[in-house]
């Protein structure tokens, strides 16, 4: 096999090798696996799974209660700088005097400044497009009014999510979702952790040390 001179070998060359191989008739893929889970109380399962991963779950009845929870939390951690996604239901919450809540939509023009803000922030507040009950996961995506860094850089990540967005598991979520994929979707299943030193659990390595999911009806 002659090797081309340019560093970029490109599609064709590798496939020369592949087509030299004898391919028997391709085997058929099996029919898609369907979810085998039936949770009588998906929210309870979600709570159980996320708490097992050292996340925190609060379930309240109204959006107002949820936003109060957020305010209390921010008070509790003594947050001075807070970053938040610009999407309903998050547009409404605010903190007392002296606290700054910076929102994505007001910083679109200056991504550099936004990044610095996220790096300095004490907490980040987002919603989630779905909740996965089986694995205790929040589905957080990039998009207009949303920043990847809000749920990544600050030491505390607070997610405010309507409980109706709960899905059974990966399979039901994937089957239900439609439309173009965003540039980035993350399934967040707990605060950041590692066991890399002496197999001992340590929470809060690169990502948030604390994850609080607030579900409201």
């Amino acid at each position: 096999m002659k090797r081309p001179e340019k560093p970029e070998y490109g599609f064709a060359t590798v496939f020369e090798t592949l087509s030299e191989t004898i391919f028997p008739a391709p085997a058929a893929l099996p029919a898609p696996w369907t979810s085998r889970r039936r949770f009588p109380d998906p929210v309870a399962r979600f709570r159980e799974a996320l708490e097992a991963a050292h996340g925190e779950v609060r379930v309240v009845e109204t959006l107002d209660e949820a936003l109060s929870e957020v305010a209390e939390l921010l008070e509790e951690i003594g947050a001075e700088v807070v970053v938040a996604d610009s999407e309903a239901p998050l547009e409404r919450f605010s903190l007392g005097a002296g606290r700054q809540v910076a929102r994505v939509s007001t910083h679109n023009a200056d991504p550099e400044a936004w990044r610095d803000l996220c790096a300095r922030a004490d907490a980040g507040v987002t919603s989630a497009e779905a909740l996965l009950a089986e694995t205790g996961s929040l589905v957080v995506s990039s998009g207009p009014g949303r920043s990847r860094l809000v749920s990544l850089l600050p030491p505390v990540h607070i997610a405010v999510v309507p409980a109706e967005r709960i899905e059974t598991d990966l399979f039901t979520w994937l089957a239900a979702r439609s439309g173009r994929w965003p540039a980035n979707t993350v399934l967040v299943s707990g605060p950041s952790k590692t066991g890399d030193i002496e197999q001992t659990l340590s929470v809060g390595v690169h990502g948030p040390k604390r994850l609080v999911a607030i579900l409201y009806d």
Binding site: L18, F23, A119, S137, W181, V186, S189, S192, E198, G207
Partner: protein, 456 residues
Amino acid sequence: MNGDFNSGFREAARIAIEDVGLIRSVETATGRFRLGREAALAELPEADAMRDHFKQIRAATLSNLKNHLQTFEANARTAGVQVHFALDAEAACAIILDLARKRGATLAAKSKSMTTEEIHLNPALEAGGIRPVETDLGEWIVQLAGEAPAHIIAPAINKTKEQVADLFREESGDEILAEIPALTAQARRRLRETFLQAGIGISGGNMAVAETGSVVLVTNEGNGRMVTSLPPVHVAVLGIEKIVPTWAEAGVWLSLLARSATGQPLSIYTSIITGPKQDADIDGPEEVHVVFLDNGRSKLLGTKYEEVLQCIRCGACLNVCPVYRSAGGHAYRGETGPPSPYSGPIGAVVTPLLFGLADHKQLPQASSLCGACLDVCPVRIDLPRMLVDLRRDSVEAGLDGAGTAVVTRLAARAFGSERMLGLAARLARFGRRFVGGDLPRPAKRSFREIRREKRS
């Protein structure tokens, strides 16, 4: 037979066995992962059926690999991803170096990737004037130590917190307590700077989804998200076999991956990357590249070894292997040179297949064929069968020591007749001390002799 192997695996294993601290660490870590896996699969409905289903997915995918790669390329391009194919390690490094240079990057933030170990990317970057910094905590630790990773999932499995503190002190000049919270905080602080300043982010990928041209990357620490979101360029490096046709299959893969590796239902962060930042996004990389690596994989397609490409690099086989647990990961190496990035049962098979049997002839011998690996593999890869096949290839290639081959064939001859068997046993009883003390000592009277006497 006894004197066949005096370097490579046997020698490295011999040294590792003496390192009581290392072996204790390996036992603790693998024990935790084993228990985690058992509990996680016990809780997963129809786990066995799902594994069978997964095997069908992987086998079918490989039987049609070219088409899936083509589909991925088309869909990825639509999403704004640039797809590259690298025939070998040199090609891959050249592509990545080129991408970094085009952007004037001098610092590369790296998220854990066995594939980039395989292609020796870090030395290539350094030679090209680019500083690579590993950001997975375990990988950063072994990078600072100048060592190879010791386990597919837990690279620093062999390091104590005192050793880590020493490495961190040396790296930063700071005074650091040899306690895990302090060490973790130090890593968070130091590596945060890397994430924010790097001109290029380089990651591996757990799978590529052809349906949408997406790459899936899982981490527990969040460094995968950092590396793929902060720098202006993101490059993901994946073996050509890490592909899945649609999201239906990806769901099965994700359901089994973390459960088999550590017992978690999912890793903390499952990142799904489909292209660079879109117009309305405030953050995200401006360029996303996927480099598919061949490096010997395609020549396994259509052979009796194709099955080894089904591996999803979960590490479950390492965690149960009694050989791995006794000798550690660094023992898996060639006759000369550094350890293979792939250790344990999968390493013993894939290393000689990708990098040459002659140079790695001990690896297929580094197994008692107990079958524990096959028991736990989520894709039911028949590693014991492939180990025997590799041994057969070794014999046919004349890689068994000449003395061993002669003795083995003579023994087979002797076993060919009951009379010769008796004769050989008598000879062995006499000449045992000359051949090697490890051979079994024949009984004074064989069973057949006792039986004959009883009859008469």
